[in-house]
């Protein structure tokens, strides 16, 4: 059964908050294609945990400020 991903992200907002970083710049920083960054931003691809950490490191924020999962906020409170 194919299910849509429930993981959401704030990559687009974080890019704009970091000197309007382009998708190509972010892709270069984490050694992926620009199309992969686009797919992640649009929720069409869930990155591996390692790539997710690399993205968080680029923006110098914790992982859960980049990626969110429904219900994870209430569970951690």
């Amino acid at each position: 059964m194919v299910k849509p991903t429930r993981v959401t992200n704030r990559i687009r907002a974080l890019r704009f908050a970091h000197d309007e970083m382009t998708q190509a710049e972010l892709a270069d920083r984490i050694s992926v294609t620009r199309q992969t960054v686009i797919a992640i931003e649009q929720g069409r691809y869930s990155p591996s945990l390692e790539m997710a950490f690399q993205i968080a490191h680029v923006f110098k924020v914790p992982l859960d400020e980049v990626f969110q999962y429904p219900g994870s906020q209430e569970e951690t409170q």
């Binding site: 991903t5 050694s31 992926v32 294609t33 992969t36 069409r44 869930s46 990155p47």
Partner: protein
């Protein structure tokens, strides 16, 4: 479009063209005689060899005409695995069908052709799966 997506398109188009060309040649030679009597060996070898050479040539030409990033990332690898997984089923079906046909004493024409049609289906459907996933999203099971 990533380098790997371009490759999937090229392989899809070449596979369809190569098998279509082969089928056209064999069917046009048939006339009124049974298909199993049609000479097919040279056409089949030219089709397979031509497809390999055309794929290499087109990849070189397209890469030279429109340079793309040479990066192959984890998404490319996952999509590649999914496409290979889809295509692999047809290779197995072809091999099993050819084995059973050989045991049953079928004509060599049909054995060679069932193998080739399954190779062609493997390539076409594997690359169709890749192209669809590149355009949409990787399925989550």
């Amino acid at each position: 479009m990533t380098l790997e997506e371009r490759r999937a398109w090229i392989r899809l188009i070449v596979s369809v063209a190569a098998y279509g060309g082969y089928a056209f040649v064999v069917l046009s030679r048939a006339g009124d005689r049974p298909l199993a009597e049609v000479p097919y060996g040279a056409a089949l070898l030219w089709s397979v060899g031509g497809a390999i050479l055309a794929t290499i040539a087109l990849e070189v030409v397209v890469a030279a005409a429109r340079p793309a990033s040479l990066v192959k990332d984890e998404r490319d690898r996952e999509i590649g695995r999914l496409g290979d997984h889809v295509g692999q089923a047809f290779v197995v079906i072809g091999a099993v069908a050819a084995m059973l046909m050989a045991i049953a004493g079928w004509d060599r024409f049909w054995i060679a052709n069932v193998i080739y049609v399954c190779f062609a289906l493997s390539s076409v459907l594997g690359n169709v799966a890749k192209v669809i996933v590149y355009r949409r999203s990787l399925p989550q099971w």
